[in-house]
Symmetry: C2
Subunit: 256 residues, 2 copies
């Protein structure tokens, strides 16, 4: 993969409830899958608290370094929802009520008979120069400013926002993967796998022990954007694993 | 909570498989719960790839800043398990085979008839000056060097290592929490909650919309290490929520 085709991303999960353990994050996995599908290389994730300095520091560190930044959390109507404030601070722009966002919210509130108040109007504050990320689940929009995409923390809303912004992102060259299952331990295949990794530096090889199956199992995962090279390397890994099975006198796992 | 009693922590999750979405992390939640139980304030989490520079940078940034650092992942026997190498580099120390770790591993391998080879012996390489973190699930130890605690990525092993190191950690003043359930939306309680937050700065108030219950529900979570103050603030929040229920003409949720 050349430098030109590599598209990178970082994610920032914002929320005390994740750091206290009260809420278990599922958005990292969703963004990871989303990026992999688009050929975007998610390179780093940070989870930070609902503190202005922590959010600003993470946003400014990561938006310089990666093609895209995705954030989740902190865009609701309560005082601890300070993501929009922090993003405006990070970019040095104002945070006015956005007319389009206000219209979207008020239209929804009219349908549901919800009172318009100051807390709810917090959700219409959008940094100057940002585009809205609409979502079909709640009427409250996320937004994009520069390369930073600000989304809700509620998983179903965050996923709707990802769908909405997908067409606006450029993908990289897609990385394909091949999984080879071995009925021996990581320690058995570790040496020969390292030798194959050296032989195929453009194919990234990972090894993952599978626990809780009542028998020893290891999954070897090969990734590359070069399909021909990936197939060649996978053939070598399969042969190496077959030899390891034979040496250990064990049957290969049922399927790959 | 005074500065003296505040004990902080950061976590580093190491592994390409988390960033690609292939594996969904559950260790962040486990470490978050663990810290909360001990009165340790988990303040930041980073997920980084299996790259030397990325791991070293995260370790050196976070170990300066927090009382403790916990890492998960990358201590297995294969070439992509480079956490021990990265920690040794971050601390500027050698990474020799540790005799105690080797003995523990060899004893287990003898029991299971597992061959000793170079790949498996990678797991006995421990940075100079580190103490082992033993675990009952696998024989491969984690280790502690300075304030950095290096653990396995396999969740059941990581949790066993957390149990092993718990007695070695100093806890902070325990933070208690009270949850108040409201049958109105976040936007309805947002304004009065912000006013109460200003009145009780030592009680951290968070607001979490509950989706998928078929009706509007919000949980307000109050946290403080000062129990009397927490009880006082909770009483005020309950009264505020009761008034909101009455104004909206809705019944309070079944239980708190």
């Amino acid at each position: 993969m050349t430098q030109e085709t590599r598209v990178t991303a970082a994610m920032i999960v914002i929320g005390d409830e994740i750091l206290s353990g009260r809420t278990k994050d599922v958005n990292i996995g969703a963004v990871a899958d989303f990026c992999t599908d688009l050929g975007i290389d998610l390179t780093e994730v940070r989870v930070v608290s609902d503190e202005m300095d922590a959010i600003v520091e993470a946003v400014n560190a990561l938006r310089q370094r990666y093609t895209y930044v995705f954030t989740s959390g902190g865009i609701g109507p309560t005082h601890d929802d300070i993501t929009a404030d922090a993003i405006a601070t990070a970019f040095g722009v104002a945070l006015p009520i956005n007319a389009q966002a206000r219209d979207m919210l008020e239209a929804r509130w009219k349908q549901t008979g919800t009172e318009v108040n100051e807390a709810r109007l917090r959700m219409a504050r959008i940094p100057e120069g940002a585009d809205l990320i609409v979502n079909s689940v709640s009427a409250a929009p996320g937004f994009r400013i520069g390369n930073v995409h600000v989304m809700a923390g509620v998983p179903v809303i965050m996923r709707a926002m990802l769908e909405a912004l997908a067409p606006t992102l450029k993908g990289g060259k897609k990385v394909k993967s091949v999984t080879v299952k071995a009925a021996v331990g990581e320690g058995t295949v570790g040496g020969p796998l390292a030798a194959l990794q050296e032989q195929y530096p453009a194919v990234k090889m990972g090894s993952y022990p599978q626990m809780g199956h009542g028998k020893v199992m290891t999954e070897l995962v090969l990734r590359s954007s070069d399909e021909a090279l990936l197939a060649e390397a996978a053939e070598k890994v399969r042969a190496m694993v077959a030899a390891a099975h034979e040496k250990a006198g064990v049957a290969p796992p049922d399927s790959e």
